[in-house]
């Protein structure tokens, strides 16, 4: 079939319907590289061809280039396509990236656009306990960004000031699900969990339970994961907030949304309010030329200080890659007074991450410990890139031989030498702050990690 289509294409290389048929044939015969090339050709001929755009991302996803597929999909979803298959594929990619919350949103969006695009297999993976019944016809909706793309908010809810842009969850993960990072876990136990589990002790000394903890470290090193696991450990509601859910271009709107988030956490105690990229909301006021930005910072400070013990039982976890951009006022007692450095995964954590990453892939028997040793200073994302490189090498061999070829240890070792740790840039910046602006001892852990005596 594919061969005959190829011959037809030789005669008519710019025939789009023929190219579409050929791309599908490639997919059926697991020729993903050719499938990708074909969809790219269609897009050259017709840049607005939605099926081709979707097909190209699918080809990347099927070739194991999940990160690239995810990035391309993110760019597409930002334009809010009304193409159900795109949302369905986005759900599949989000699931592969273990972003179940996003996967659910995308799947629902796909069904909103086309009720017939239901996919039972995917639905089972996304909703292991069964998909909740769909709400009756929803009113006019608006879009907002989550960490991956836009999801719907009901207009009437927003008008009432009810913030539904972040969902409550009860994380199932605990520290046991986070491989390695024992020192950090111990620190969190001592500084965060123990006070929450023994509030009476703290009350006896007139101290409040809750408050704020700032997690900082290089990107992609598990700040979100450890926050989720912290919430799981104390069996609290978890509210994850990304920057785009708060920041808004309209004056006063960001402040309103921030207040709504805190209110939501207060109403669902015990709760962990996790704010990712907190430096953008808590930026140093000296850097802000416009008063609009300063008002948001003041609002944030006011929410953290909140009177009448309103924040008791609410743990505010802030994560940032650049703690030096945070206004010093946020580090005063009662605010982010506990600061924890989340270093790149240690050996045990790297081994655990690699084990999870290879578990669904065809691999020969591997010495993951030796591989993990080679990945010093790698972030989780770097290890994913490493696996992508090795997968591509295995795939190219598979395409030559026409059968599934397992990823070998040699391919992984080679990939480990090719991929450079992305944390180096972060440490280059952090080193300056740790060496020259560490009067309060904020960066002692960074100095210790880098082996520099303060």
């Amino acid at each position: 079939m594919r061969e005959s289509l190829k011959e037809a294409l030789n005669a008519s290389p710019d025939n789009i319907p023929l190219l579409v048929l050929y791309a599908h044939a490639c997919e059926e015969e697991l020729e993903f590289a050719e499938m990708q090339e074909t969809w790219e050709r269609v897009l050259q001929l017709d840049p607005g061809h939605e099926q081709a755009r979707c097909g190209l991302i699918q080809a990347l996803y099927l070739s194991g280039k999940v990160s690239e597929a995810s990035v391309r999909m993110q760019a597409w979803l930002s334009g809010e396509p009304r193409y159900a298959a795109a949302w369905l594929l986005a759900a599949r990619i989000a699931l592969a990236e273990e972003q179940k919350h996003e996967a659910r949103s995308y799947y629902e969006r796909a069904l909103d656009l086309d009720g017939n695009c239901r996919n039972e297999g995917l639905e089972k993976d996304i909703f292991p306990q069964g998909r909740p019944e769909a709400k009756p016809s929803e009113p006019e909706t608006e879009r907002r960004m989550t960490s991956f793309g836009p999801v719907s908010i009901r207009q009437d809810e927003e008008e009432e000031g009810e913030s539904s842009f972040s969902e409550l969850e009860r994380p199932q993960q605990s520290f046991a699900d986070v491989g390695g990072m024992e020192a950090l876990k111990e620190e969190i136990r001592m500084k965060v969990l123990y006070p929450l589990e023994n509030p009476q002790l703290f009350e006896a000394y007139g101290k409040k339970v809750g408050g704020g903890v700032l997690l900082y470290g290089p990107p992609g090193c598990g700040k979100t994961l450890i926050s989720r696991a912290t919430a799981g450990e104390i069996d609290a509601n978890f509210i994850s907030v990304s920057l785009h859910e708060v920041l808004d271009m309209w004056i006063g709107s960001s402040e309103k949304q921030l207040h709504a988030l805190f209110e939501m956490a207060r109403q669902h105690k015990p709760a962990v309010l996790f704010i990712d990229e907190v430096d953008a909301l808590a930026a140093d006021r000296r850097d802000m030329r416009q008063s609009g930005g300063r008002t948001l910072i003041n609002q944030f400070l006011a929410e953290m200080d909140s009177s009448n013990d309103a924040n008791d039982g609410v743990l505010i976890l802030g994560a940032t890659n650049s703690p030096w951009h945070i206004d010093p006022a946020f580090r005063r007692p009662g605010r982010f007074d506990r600061v924890l450095f989340v270093p790149p995964p240690d050996l045990e954590a790297r081994k655990a991450i690699l084990e999870i990453m290879v578990q669904d892939k065809p691999v020969e028997k591997l010495d993951l410990k030796s591989l993990a040793k080679l990945c010093k200073d790698f972030s989780g994302a770097d290890m994913k890139a490493l696996l992508d490189v090795a997968t591509e090498a295995a795939l190219s061999e598979a395409m030559k031989s026409g059968r599934v070829v397992p990823i070998t240890g040699k391919q992984l070792l080679k990939a480990a030498k090719q991929v450079k740790p992305s944390t180096s840039d972060w440490f280059a910046s952090a080193k300056n702050y740790a060496m020259y602006a560490n009067q309060s001892g904020l960066y002692d852990s960074v100095l210790e990690y880098m082996g520099i005596k303060g």
């Binding site: 760019a75 809010e80 836009p150 850097d287 300056n432 060496m435 602006a437």
Partner: protein, 425 residues
Amino acid sequence: MSESSSIEYGRLMMQRHRWADAEKHFRQALESDPNSAEILYMLTYSIFLQEKREKEALSLSKSLLELEPDEEHVQELHAKILLTLHRENEALPFLQSALALNPEDPDLLCSLATYHQLRMEWKEVEQIATQVLSLYPEHSQALQLYNTALRLQGKTNDSLEHAGQLLSRDAGNAHHHEMMGWNALQTGDVKQAELHFLESLRIQPNSPYSREGLKEAYRSRNPLYRLYFKHQMWMASFTAKYQWMIIIGLLVLVRVLPPILEDMGLGFLSTTLIYAYLGFIVWTYTCRPIGNILLLFDTKARHALERKEKISSAIITTLALLGVWGMLGGLISGSAPGLLYIMSGGLSLGCAFLMTFAFQSQKPLAFVFISLHCILLLLFAVAILAVTLGLFLPDPEWFGSTYRFSRTSILVGSILYQTKWFQRE
């Protein structure tokens, strides 16, 4: 997200100095409207403000110029990027064109002053900075340019007084401490310089100028390095043209004087003059990497060095020490093998000298080429040592011509490796 939201989010990110996030949003916006000059401008700016991405920004600003060739802010951005890349001559027409439309814009005038600064035309820098400060007395960049211009014209008292006044007005300003640091360094007050640079870095830890200043202060603890720093500052007070005239003048003097001295029966003085000249040249080029070696013994100062600086200083210092050891050994022994020691020591010193260009270069290929050149020279130095030990007896003619070729290659290399073909990408 709609195109306008992406732009607005990009702007919000720019306000928060999150250039990479801003870039992401502007890229999204550009995908919806690929022909928008406004979005392309903001995208280019957000990339330009990120470290080591000037070249990417330059290629975007070229596209931007095709869309909006007469826009003043586009020309200004393009010129700024070129100036950052030290391509000042290409930047000048864009600056002039933008200034023709907006002759009193302080940022544009400061960019013009930066153009002169890169050409070491300090008088012009001072004039332009004074013009900006007469309109905007607190313009931060103009204040810095003015102070640098005073200092490098040798008006040290004026520049110290100026920096001191600024510091007394605002002691929490990192730039003011940085200015004081450089002035203190120039007057030889190393301790004060260290204090001011450390204070500047406490306020603004990522300032590359203060970091460089602090390293200079650490190195200047050594009197020999202080001498070198003074020499550097003295040379920097001349424009590039005069600097070359001094170098060539010295070279001519060294070529012309020895025969005259020999005719006068002062042969010893002639040899000393040649050695002193060569030593001076090698010293001026290798002083900084050798100075870095001393920093490695200081618990605090060693962390100020980057990995590349540590490697370069280790290699260059080793080569220089081997060279000095060979030459001194040869001079002391004074016999025929002594001459061979001098030859091999000279080659090693030559390698130390050439390797400074390799480590300065932005081109990996140039680094490899110069390194290979040095390896060849070192192999020949080893062969010479083998001759002294009787392990190797070469044909005297081959030996002589190879040595002459090596010497000439060092001379040619020292000129060639400083050119833009070897230094800039």
